[in-house]
């Protein structure tokens, strides 16, 4: 669902910390018709121009709190990611991305489903790796987004 609209088109930018470009970020929405408990949010398959950025280098910013790793997110069992709200996906990548056009391939993994599934116990022990389709039943394929990074490091 919302295949082509999960990333806000003008949201790609570099993250700057104390004058240093530490990575990049983009704004995402929940690929569903509803919100979910935040803990269910299991990270992203994310590839930019052919380079894979695994969950380990991803942090997620939502609900007015500082960006959190997905290890922290899975502990947010009573916090809700509401349907209306945009989250910011931050990616640690020293130097960031060059200005100009990029091809971003993305699939979101949210372990929300309709009731009990045969994969439940397995996913407690070993959460699926995003990009396999697991936890992505409403957008089962990886979507490609042409995005342009326009800002320079002093803009943020």
């Amino acid at each position: 669902m919302f295949d082509n609209f999960l990333i806000r088109g003008d949201s790609l930018r570099n993250d700057v910390d104390e004058g240093e470009v530490t990575g990049f970020s983009l704004a995402v929405r929940n690929a569903n018709y509803r919100g979910v408990y935040l803990s269910l949010h299991n990270g992203y398959f994310l590839e930019v121009d052919g380079v894979l950025y695994p969950v380990a280098v991803q942090r997620f910013e939502i609900n007015g709190k500082a960006p959190r790793t997905f290890d922290e997110i899975r502990g947010a069992v009573w916090e809700h990611w509401n349907y209306d709200d945009e989250g910011i996906l931050h990616v640690a990548a020293p130097g960031g991305l060059a200005s100009g056009p990029h091809t971003v391939r993305l699939q979101q993994s949210v372990l929300a489903a309709y009731g009990y599934l045969s994969t439940d116990e397995e996913w407690v022990e070993n959460p699926p790796t995003p990009g396999t389709g697991a936890g992505s039943d409403k957008t089962p394929q990886i979507i490609s987004y042409p995005l342009v990074l326009t800002e320079t490091k002093d803009a943020r």
Binding site: M1, F2, D3, N4, F5, R29, Y33, R34, G35, V36, Y37, S39, L40, R74, G75, V77, H80, N82, Y83, D84, L111, A112, A113, Y114, G115, Y116, L117, D120, E121, W123, V124, P127, D137
Partner: protein
């Protein structure tokens, strides 16, 4: 007493996503533009600051109902069993969530809580005493490809009989009366490469399975979900492996496709296999079950103009006349809530190609009103 009309705000999910209609805008549309519809159904995790929207919102909610002449009918709740991530939720934990949702529904003036079609009967039973005490009905959704006949409805009837409760029933989703792929589903498959001949083959197979003229019989999908069937068929396509109960149907789909489609690709087979995900349930059963129906999900995929009848609209893939006649014959006088789901079949395209939810819901309400009032 007559059937009443409402709208599930689920129908406006895309307008909400794109910030075109907020909650007030959606309620205003129902109250002002649908010729007498007044029922409001929500998905709690779509419309509310969940799980506790707070007292200020509660006050505003009732103000909105008052302003637009609408009334809360049903709240749809979920069940995500991995919420705690370190264990799978127990039945009791699922019941605890349902009970919290029942209390929330009560605070917002709803009289029905709809549980998922896959909610275990034990969970419903555990929450039932609280529902009773708050005068909230629990309705279990009966969703395509489930059927009204058989164990999944029977266990609800048994629970009602065993407890003597008037507060448990079913929510038929009219997708169970879908008898062919919708034209918008066909077009969606077409843009992904399915051939025109495969689109025709899918519809013809669905009609043949309904009439008993297909080369293999309809398989009862009661224990499956449409998603599972699709996954299993994909596995069968790539590996040839499947369960014995599905083998004849899957082989049958493959042969049907090869006879009707030149050099079929996977997407052609997958489209034809959509014919397997339809419910084949009986309108007679709906008539008999009418006393147990808490309300109805008026699911639809696309409303098109009725040729030669300006201002009238139809759903080509779902047998609405049959279903509504059965409800009337059964004496049902609750709500049918419009539940538009076809918007997703446009979302692979650009923003200018998206379907207009407001217009689709208006058309659906025109049909509902006309069919309800027909003698």
């Amino acid at each position: 007493m007559t059937i009443k009309r409402g709208v599930s705000l689920y129908s406006y999910q895309q307008s909400q996503f794109f910030k075109q209609l907020d909650l007030e805008g959606q309620i205003a549309e129902v109250g002002r533009n649908l010729d007498g519809a007044d029922g409001i159904e929500i998905v709690d995790e779509m419309s509310l600051d969940y799980p506790d929207p707070g007292p200020a919102f509660e006050a505003r909610w009732f103000e909105l109902m008052n302003t637009y002449g609408t009334r809360p009918v049903a709240m749809d709740v979920g069940m995500d069993v991995l919420q705690f991530r370190d264990h799978v939720m127990s039945l009791q934990e699922c019941a605890d969530r349902l009970i919290a949702d029942i209390r929330l529904a009560k605070r917002l003036g709803f009289s029905i809580v709809r549980t998922l079609s896959v909610a275990p009967i034990q969970v419903i039973e555990m929450a039932l005493p609280i529902a009773e005490s708050l005068d909230i009905k629990l309705g279990k959704e009966i969703h395509q490809p489930m059927v009204l006949e058989g164990p999944l409805v029977q266990e609800i009837l048994d629970l009602a009989e065993r407890t003597g409760s008037q507060h448990v029933g079913i929510v038929p989703d009219f997708g169970i009366f879908q008898f062919r792929a919708s034209e918008v589903q066909l077009a969606w498959f077409g843009r992904r490469g399915a051939q025109t001949s495969a689109q025709e083959a899918s519809v013809d197979l669905a009609l043949g399975l309904r009439d008993g003229t297909a080369p293999f019989p309809h398989v009862d999908m009661t224990r499956h979900t449409a998603g599972n069937i699709r996954g299993d068929f994909n596995r069968f396509l790539s590996t040839g492996v499947t369960t014995e109960d599905m083998r004849d149907a899957f082989e049958g789909v493959k042969q049907w496709t090869q006879q009707r489609v030149d050099s079929p690709k996977d997407i052609d087979y997958v489209l034809v296999a959509e014919a397997l995900t339809l419910s084949h349930t009986s309108a007679d059963t709906l008539r008999e079950l009418a006393p147990f129906v808490t309300h109805v999900h008026g699911k639809f995929n696309n409303m098109s103009a009725v040729p030669g009848m300006p201002g009238q609209f139809q759903e080509l893939s779902i047998d609405y006349p049959l279903a509504i006649d059965a409800l009337k014959a059964g004496g049902f006088d609750g709500y049918i809530d419009t539940e538009y789901e076809g918007q997703r079949y446009f979302q692979d395209q650009g923003v200018e190609e998206l379907e207009d939810e407001v217009e689709q819901v208006r058309r659906h309400q025109e049909m509902l009103k006309r069919l309800i009032e027909a003698s």
